[in-house]
C-alpha cells in the first residue's frame, strides 16, 4: 500500500561465531507508514539498533549477515541492492540521526559543508545553490543565525545544536524515511524536550515516516504513534502508543513499563531528626588557574554549596551536565581537593586534610560511580576488589572474606562469584559489586554518583531498590547524584537542584516536585519526558 514507507518482513540477521546467541534479530516484521513515528523500544541487546542499521545497510558485513526476510523501502527490497545502489538510496530516500551528535559529526569539517556534502553527493547543484539550500534546512530546524553557523565547527556548538545539524542533514533531501537511533539519549533533559519537539514538528510538516529507536518510555510517551517492543532480537509486542502504554499484554512489556520510576514522589514519613552525618559549608571548587600567559579561563564548578545529610536520609543532587553535581560529590570524597569551604564528617573537617590525615576518614565515606564497566579493576577478582578496603584498615583476610560473602548475599549475588572477574558480570551485577565494595568499609555516608544512569530500566529499578534497602539496613546517610528526575523522585527524601555550580533550590522532594520555586527547576520538571504518564501505577 502506498502510504507504507518501510516494510520489514521476517528479517533475520545472523551473529558471528562465538557470540552469545545465534541471531542478532530473528524474524522481525514491522512497517513504518507515511507520517507516523514508530518507536522501537528495548533494552541493550534487544537488537533494536541492529534492525535500524540493517535497514540503512550500515552493519559491518563481516560480523552481521542478513540471512532471511525482506526490507521493502517504498516497495523495493533493500537486501537485493548493490552497494552502489544502496549509496544512492542512503540520504536520498532514507536518512539517519545518531545518538552521539558530537562523534557523529566530523570534528574537522564545517557543519555547513557537512550538510552540503549530502547535496554534493546526490545532486548536481552548484556550490552557491547548495549553500542556499543548506541554510534553508538549517533555518528549517530553527538553528539561530544559520549564515554564521554554516561556518562553525561541531565543537563550537551545543549538544542540542549539533543534533539539530544532524537532523537538518537528514532532511536536506526530503527522504521518505527517517531513522533516529536514540537521538536524545546523550542530551540533557531540557534539550531533549526541544529536540523531540523538533522531530515531531518536522515529521508533521514533511509527512515522512520516522523509525525511532529508544530505551526510554518517557520519550515513547511523548513522541510515538505506534510502538514496537523488542527483546533478545525478537518483537514481543506492538501496537499503538496508548495500547502499549496503558494496556501492555506481554509480561516483558509490563515489566519494562512497571520499572519506569514515577515522577511523583511517594509520600514519605517526615524523617525523624537523626544525627547529622555529613555537612558541607561554603564548599567551592574552581577549575583552571589563571596563569601568566593562559588568559585565565576559570570554571567555577561549585560555588558556596551548602548541604547537610542526616543518617538514614537520602539527599538527591539533581542537575544537567555541567551543573557541578559530580564535582560536589568528588570533593566530599576528597578525590579532588576543594578550593574552599568545610566538609564535616562527624565533627572533623576533612576539606583541608592531607592525604595521610584523611585516611582514617576514608572508611566512613564511600562512593559508587556511574560506569559499571570501569569501576572495577578488570585484572582483579571482585572478591579482591571488595576486601581491598577493609584490609587496608587492618581487617584479617579471613574476616574480610566472610564479610565479602555476606555482602554478596545482601546485594543479591552468589558468594561463589567472589573469585570471578568483572567481565564475567553484567552491568547491573557489577554495580551491585560496587555497592558491596562500598559497604564493605562499613561507611556512615554513601555517595551514589549517577549510580544507575548507565543501567537498563529494569536493572535500574532493582539497583534502586537495593540502594534503598542497604540505606535502611545500615542507617546510611546517602548522597544521590543524578540527572534523572524520575529516579530522584523515587529514592530521595530531600533534593537539591544545581545549575552552573550553584544550588538554586533545595527542599523535601515532594514539595519541590509539587511546587518548584526556581524557574530552572520548573523547566527541568516541565521537560521530563512523559511527565503526564505515570507508568509505575500500571505495573
Amino acid at each position: 500500500m502506498s502510504d507504507t514507507v518501510l516494510e520489514i518482513k521476517g528479517l533475520t540477521v545472523r551473529l558471528p561465531e562465538g557470540a552469545d546467541r545465534e541471531f542478532a534479530i530473528e524474524d522481525v516484521s514491522l512497517t513504518v507508514g507515511k507520517g507516523e513515528i514508530v518507536c522501537i523500544v528495548g533494552e541493550s541487546g534487544s537488537g533494536k539498533s541492529v534492525t535500524a542499521f540493517t535497514v540503512m545497510g550500515l552493519i559491518p558485513k563481516k560480523d552481521l549477515v542478513p540471512v532471511a526476510g525482506q526490507i521493502l523501502l517504498q516497495g523495493d527490497d533493500l537486501l537485493k541492492k548493490s552497494d552502489r545502489q544502496m549509496r544512492k538510496l542512503r540520504g536520498e530516500k532514507m536518512a539517519m540521526v545518531f545518538q552521539e551528535p558530537m562523534t557523529a559529526l566530523n570534528p574537522v569539517v564545517k557543519v555547513g559543508d557537512q550538510i552540503g556534502e549530502l547535496l554534493e553527493i546526490h545532486t548536481n547543484m552548484s556550490r552557491a545553490a547548495r549553500k542556499t539550500r543548506v541554510i534553508e534546512v538549517m533555518k528549517d530546524v530553527s538553528l539561530p543565525d544559520p549564515e554564521k553557523m554554516y561556518n562553525s565547527f561541531p565543537h563550537q556548538l551545543s549538544g542540542g545544536q549539533r543534533q539539530r545539524i544532524m537532523i537538518a542533514m537528514a532532511l536536506a533531501l526530503e527522504p521518505g524515511l527517517l531513522i533516529a537511533d536514540e537521538p536524545t539519549t546523550a542530551l540533557d533533559v531540557t534539550t531533549q524536550a526541544e529536540v523531540l519537539e523538533l522531530i515531531k514538528d518536522i515529521q508533521r510538516r514533511h509527512g515522512m515516516g520516522v523509525m525511532f529507536i529508544t530505551h526510554d518510555f518517557g520519550v515513547v510517551a511523548d513522541i510515538a504513534t505506534r510502538v514496537i517492543v523488542m527483546q533478545h532480537g525478537k518483537v514481543v509486542e506492538q501496537g499503538t502508543r496508548d495500547q502499549i502504554l496503558t494496556d501492555p499484554q506481554h509480561p516483558y512489556t509490563k515489566m519494562l513499563i512497571g520499572s519506569v520510576p514515577s515522577l511523583t514522589p511517594p509520600d514519605r514519613p517526615e524523617p525523624k531528626a537523626a544525627e547529622v552525618a555529613l555537612e558541607a559549608h561554603k564548599l567551592n571548587k574552581v577549575y583552571g588557574t589563571s596563569g601568566f600567559f593562559s588568559k585565565g579561563r576559570v570554571v567555577h564548578a561549585a560555588q558556596d554549596v551548602e548541604l547537610v545529610v542526616h543518617r538514614g536520609e537520602t539527599l538527591g543532587v539533581v542537575g544537567e551536565s555541567g551543573s557541578g553535581k559530580s564535582t560536589v560529590a568528588r570533593c566530599i570524597v576528597r578525590l579532588i581537593d576543594p578550593t574552599g569551604g568545610d566538609i564535616t564528617i562527624n565533627g572533623a573537617n576533612i576539606a583541608t586534610m592531607t592525604e595521610r590525615e584523611m585516611r582514617p576518614y576514608r572508611q566512613q565515606i564511600q562512593i559508587v560511580f556511574q560506569d559499571p564497566y570501569r569501576s572495577l579493576n578488570p585484572r582483579r577478582t571482585v572478591g579482591q576488589s571488595i576486601v581491598e578496603g577493609p584490609m587496608n584498615f587492618g581487617l584479617g583476610a579471613a574476616e574480610a572474606q566472610v564479610r565479602a560473602e555476606d555482602l554478596m548475599r545482601i546485594v543479591g549475588l552468589a558468594p561463589e562469584a567472589l573469585d570471578r572477574f568483572p567481565h564475567q558480570f553484567s552491568g547491573g551485577q557489577r554495580q551491585r559489586v560496587c555497592i558491596a565494595r562500598a559497604l564493605a568499609m562499613e561507611p556512615k555516608v554513601l555517595i551514589a554518583d549517577e549510580a544507575v544512569s548507565a543501567l537498563d530500566v529494569s536493572v535500574q529499578a532493582q539497583v534502586l531498590r537495593l540502594l534503598h534497602d542497604v540505606r535502611e539496613r545500615y542507617d546510611l546517610a546517602m548522597l544521590f547524584i543524578t540527572h534523572d528526575l524520575r529516579v530522584a523522585a523515587q529514592i530521595c527524601d530531600r533534593i537539591m537542584v544545581m545549575q552552573h555550580g550553584v544550588v538554586v533550590e533545595q527542599g523535601r522532594t515532594a514539595d519541590v516536585y509539587a511546587n518548584p520555586n526556581h524557574p530552572y527547576t520548573k523547566s527541568l520538571l516541565a521537560a521530563a519526558p512523559g511527565r503526564d504518564m505515570d507508568f509505575a501505577r500500571l505495573a
Binding site: 540520504g91 536520498e92 570534528p107 553527493i121 544532524m166 542533514m169 600567559f293
Partner: protein
C-alpha cells in the same frame, strides 16, 4: 596563540640548557683530547702539553664551561679547533646538502607512506595490507648502510644508471643533476621512515574508520573513496604529522650514515668527523644545533595542529 608561541619558545630554553650541560660534561669527562691529535705522530709529550695550554684545555672544567656558556649566550658557537673556522660557518657550509636530503626524504616518504598506510587500513587484512605491514616491519629491520651498499652495488655498479656518490647543488648544477645524485640517498634514508609512517598512518586511519562520523558519511551515501579522503585522512592528519615530527630525530641519525655512505658533505659527516677528532666546539655546537632544530620542528608541528584540527586552539 601568540602567547602560546612565546611560552613554548621560552619553554625550550631549559631543555636547551639541559642539552648543553649534558653535552659539555659528556665531552669533558671523557678520555681523548684534541691536543694529542693535533700534535701528530712524532710529537713528544711536551709538545702535547704546550698545545693543550694553547687550547685552554687544561683550565678547570667549570672555567671552561663558564666560558662556553657565556659564549653561547652571545649566540657564538665557538671556533673549530682544527680548521679554525667558526662553527657557525662550518654549519653554514654543510647545511644545504643535509637540509635538502632531509627535505626530499620527507616529501618522498609522505608521498609513498601515507597512501600505502591508508590503503592498508582501508583494506585491513587484505594482501595489500599484509604487504604493507610486512614492508613496514622489514623496513625497520634492514640496517641502513647494508641497504645503501646493496643499492649502490646494483643500481650504480652493475646497472650504471645512477651516480655512485656525491652531492650536486641544484643551484650550481641544476635540478636534474641534483635529483640524480639524491635518488639513492633518499631511498636509502627513507625506507625506515616510510615504514614508520605507513605503519602509523595505517593505525590511525584504521582507528578513525571506526568513528561515528565515518558511519554518518556512509549514511549520507558517500562513496568509500571520498569517505577515506574527505573524512578519514583529514582526521588522521594530526597523529601522522606528529610522527613525522618525532621521526626527524630518527632521520638525523640516519643522515649520519647515509652521508658517509654516499659521501655527501653534510652536517651528519661533519659531526662524525668532529667526534673522531675530538673537535669539542664543533661537537657541542652541532649537537646543540641538532636538538634546537628538533625542538623547533616539533614546535612548528604543534602549531600546525591548529590548521589541521579546528578543535585545537592555543
Amino acid at each position: 596563540m601568540f602567547f602560546y608561541i612565546i611560552k613554548r619558545i621560552l619553554a625550550t630554553i631549559p631543555v636547551m640548557v639541559i642539552v648543553a650541560l649534558f653535552v659539555f660534561l659528556m665531552l669533558r669527562l671523557s678520555p681523548g683530547d684534541p691536543a694529542a691529535v693535533i700534535a701528530g705522530d712524532y710529537a713528544t709529550t711536551e709538545d702535547v702539553e704546550r698545545i693543550r695550554e694553547q687550547l685552554g684545555l687544561n683550565e678547570p672544567i667549570p672555567v671552561q664551561m663558564y666560558k662556553w656558556i657565556a659564549q653561547l649566550a652571545r649566540g657564538d658557537l665557538g671556533t673549530a679547533i682544527f680548521s679554525k673556522l667558526p662553527v657557525t660557518t662550518l654549519i653554514g657550509q654543510r647545511l644545504e646538502p643535509t637540509l635538502l636530503l632531509a627535505l626530499c626524504t620527507i616529501i618522498f616518504t609522505v608521498l609513498v607512506a601515507v597512501p600505502l598506510g591508508t590503503i592498508a587500513a582501508y583494506k585491513a587484512g587484505s594482501w595489500i595490507d599484509r604487504f604493507v605491514m610486512l614492508f613496514s616491519v622489514a623496513g625497520f629491520s634492514v640496517p641502513i648502510f647494508v641497504l645503501g651498499y646493496m643499492l649502490i652495488y646494483v643500481l650504480s655498479m652493475q646497472l650504471k644508471i645512477l651516480p655512485v656518490q656525491g652531492y650536486k647543488s641544484p643551484f650550481e648544477y641544476g635540478l636534474w643533476e641534483f635529483l640524480r645524485h639524491m635518488i639513492l640517498p633518499v631511498i636509502t634514508l627513507s625506507v625506515i621512515y616510510i615504514a614508520l609512517i605507513a605503519r602509523m598512518t595505517r593505525a590511525t586511519v584504521q582507528e578513525v574508520l571506526q568513528e561515528d562520523y565515518v558511519r554518518t558519511a556512509r549514511a549520507k551515501g558517500q562513496s568509500e573513496f571520498k569517505v577515506l579522503m574527505f573524512h578519514a585522512l583529514r582526521n588522521a592528519a594530526v597523529p601522522i604529522v606528529t610522527v613525522i615530527g618525532l621521526g626527524i630525530a630518527l632521520m638525523i641519525g640516519g643522515v649520519v650514515v647515509t652521508e658517509s655512505v654516499y659521501n655527501i658533505p653534510g652536517l651528519g659527516r661533519l659531526v662524525l668527523d668532529a667526534v673522531l677528532a675530538r673537535d669539542y666546539p664543533v661537537i657541542q655546537g652541532l649537537i646543540l644545533f641538532f636538538s634546537f632544530i628538533y625542538i623547533l620542528i616539533n614546535l612548528l608541528i604543534d602549531l600546525s595542529y591548529t590548521l589541521l584540527d579546528p578543535r585545537i586552539r592555543y
